[in-house]
């Protein structure tokens, strides 16, 4: 981690969210909101189909950071805005989201990382930023 500097690019990650992913996350997180598993309820809210939990996207995106720094205990803070939902049709391939990260600042042994999540060529997280202890 000694060569970390602004501009350092973290290895990217691609993850396919299927309906099974959403059901599993619903159970693990206890977020049972039906817009994540019921097309009927999603349609009632004007959505084209069910959407992934924002927290699933947020949590998966952080894997870019924890895989890179090696120890989840180094993560000091993490912020995201949920700017666009990830729609998930009932298909085998699901919806592939690509995640990346770039170091934007290194100060007092803490690296600030700008995290990116894209689905369908659109950013789905806004201003996503994590701080990681380096020492």
């Amino acid at each position: 981690m000694s060569t970390v500097e602004p501009g350092t690019v973290l290895p990217a990650l691609s993850v396919a969210f299927t309906r099974a992913t959403l059901v599993r996350y619903a159970g693990a997180s206890t977020d049972l909101n039906p817009i994540h598993w019921s097309e009927r309820m999603a349609h009632q809210l004007g959505l084209p189909t069910v959407i992934a939990h924002g927290m699933l996207t947020m949590g998966t995106a952080l894997r870019v950071v924890t895989d890179w720094c090696g120890d989840p205990g180094r993560v000091l803070s993490y912020y995201v805005r949920f700017t666009k939902p990830v729609t998930v049709d009932d298909t085998d391939e699901g919806s592939t989201v690509t995640f990346g990260g770039t170091v934007t600042k290194v100060e007092n042994g803490v690296a600030t990382i700008s995290v990116e999540a894209r689905f369908d060529d659109t950013k789905v997280l806004g201003a996503a930023t994590a701080e990681v202890r380096l020492d």
């Binding site: 993850v15 992913t21 599993r24 996350y25 159970g27 693990a28 997180s29 206890t30 977020d31 909101n33 924002g54 927290m55 699933l56 947020m58 949590g59 998966t60 952080l62 894997r63 924890t66 120890d71 989840p72 205990g73 993560v75 000091l76 803070s77 993490y78 912020y79 995201v80 805005r81 949920f82």
Partner: protein, 142 residues
Amino acid sequence: MISESHIGRTYPPTAPYAVSAAKVAEFAAALGDGDNPAYGGPDAVAPPTFAVVLSSTAWGAMFDDHELGLSLSRTVHTDQRFSWRRPLRVGDEVTATLRIDKVRARGTSAFITLTVALDAGGERVCDATSTLLHTWPAEDVA
């Protein structure tokens, strides 16, 4: 209905939640990260965003507060911040305490910012700050 007068309102801490190896493994697997050695073994920590399991439990008190007139099904989560003093660990007994930080009500909707403090063994482990957008049916507001 919720208004700026509710800024600062807090609710009693949730009942202690014991972080178990099984729940941590289940949550890591749900993030596709079940093979990460940090989330298993005798020194297992929880994935950082596991904090949401605890913080969202504390939201219940606010949605049950009839004075505020809030309903989870009319709520959209617009942003989320976590600040950790240390990771949550298997064996931690965690309580979650919710405080309303900010309310911006306009017409039929309100932005509500709230912080859930997670404490284990008498020390602060994590602050989870969320902004929620709540929308009321127009006929309720008129």
